[in-house]
Assembly symmetry: C2
Homo-oligomer: 226 residues x 2
Amino acid sequence: VVAGRGVAKRYGAGDSAVDALRGVDLEIARGQFLAVMGPSGSGKSTLMHILAGLDTPTAGSVQIDGREITTASDTELTLIRREKVGFIFQFFNLLPMLTAEENLELPLRLAGRPIDQAWKDELIAAIGLGNRLHHRPAELSGGQQQRVAVGRALLTRPAIIFGDEPTGNLDSKTSAEVMELLRHAVDTFGQTVAVVTHDPRAASYADRIIFLQDGDIARDEGRMTS
Amino acid sequence: VVAGRGVAKRYGAGDSAVDALRGVDLEIARGQFLAVMGPSGSGKSTLMHILAGLDTPTAGSVQIDGREITTASDTELTLIRREKVGFIFQFFNLLPMLTAEENLELPLRLAGRPIDQAWKDELIAAIGLGNRLHHRPAELSGGQQQRVAVGRALLTRPAIIFGDEPTGNLDSKTSAEVMELLRHAVDTFGQTVAVVTHDPRAASYADRIIFLQDGDIARDEGRMTS
Ligand SMILES: Nc1ncnc2c1ncn2[C@@H]1O[C@H](COP(=O)(O)OP(=O)(O)OP(=O)(O)O)[C@@H](O)[C@H]1O
Ligand SMILES: Nc1ncnc2c1ncn2[C@@H]1O[C@H](COP(=O)(O)OP(=O)(O)OP(=O)(O)O)[C@@H](O)[C@H]1O
Ligand SMILES: [Mg+2]
Ligand SMILES: [Mg+2]
């Protein structure tokens, strides 16, 4: 459902240039649960943003559901992202002036699509935010904000969900609940999920694990066995 | 060096009031390395902010180095914080217009204090940011920004360092380096450190672990044995 070929990202030029990604090839099949691991600064967030159409590569191509996004116009790209991509940001990107519930529903409302109330109720119960729906992000703990971001991505059921450290601020019990929720979406309705994580326990929920190092894929393996 | 008595924090009023902290008593002795754990939303960040003088409790008292901060004027409080407290925020709070190096040095420059160049060099090497000093936060990965925040708190050698999830965005190798750095500061020059963490491996560096639950201390134990 997502295919990146020769994806490269360079910042700056000359001696001080930083090659955040050095020509990465990656195909994510429909219904796959992928984990991306690697040292701090190895290019994980950069890769996720480029595959999700949130950033442009310096070289290479990226296709989402068959559509080449590196040559898409701004309008086309916005539409593809809105229809096909859910993103759980490393630092949440919630809108501070909206409540948790409004943040949850925002992508669907922007896309003019109806809200599946049963799925929404199931999500709210699973992420444990029932009594926080009317609070704004500033009134929520770090982990609560992260859970709103997770719910927001899952509610739209996009072609692919990218998560950048979706459990980085969560205790082990809540981390497990979030990963089970993502696993449940993959198993019950074929959601495709790709998460960056530093947590081996979170990675153990995935079907496939990729290890980045210095902007390149160092290893590509099936399920981690504990 | 820090003593909180009956520390309570209530948001809102009436039926919808949230008791983030319910009368917490906590003394942190000089040279102690304390870890604070507990479920998402249990009050950890709230407790840290109040003990550090960054937030006011609804009830109770807090003393830093013998100074009662709940009754201090704004000016006095700013001075106490600047002289005595270092804080590693859950979401870093770096200044976007300053480079990594400028962010590192900012608290010392604001306090008009000289920079210990040897300690600064040692820190930069330990947190692995040597080739990123002239980048601004937006040009740094999540983990790199977190390491700048860690370095900034350690550079000032304050009476106490509070860390809110200081390794939440770091891979295991870098997490270990950060915790070793904090441990090194405690062991070699008696730095007092209190960190909130969800990571049992990070907590294993501490001398004492406190578990919060629903705004109260549920357990208070010596070093975690693995
Ligand atoms: N301004 C506010 N209004 C209402 N409730 C608030 C406000 N700020 C914080 N809270 C609530 O206080 C509780 C404690 O929050 P706190 O940020 O201290 O939790 P935490 O233990 O740090 O959680 P996490 O592990 O998720 O970071 C949470 O339930 C949160 O929703
Ligand atoms: N605008 C920029 N200018 C220069 N270098 C940049 C810029 N943005 C990112 N980088 C560099 O690109 C590299 C990859 O960054 P990225 O955020 O993808 O890492 P990451 O694997 O997500 O790290 P972490 O685990 O710390 O979140 C880092 O070394 C970072 O310093
Ligand atoms: Mg990152
Ligand atoms: Mg917190």
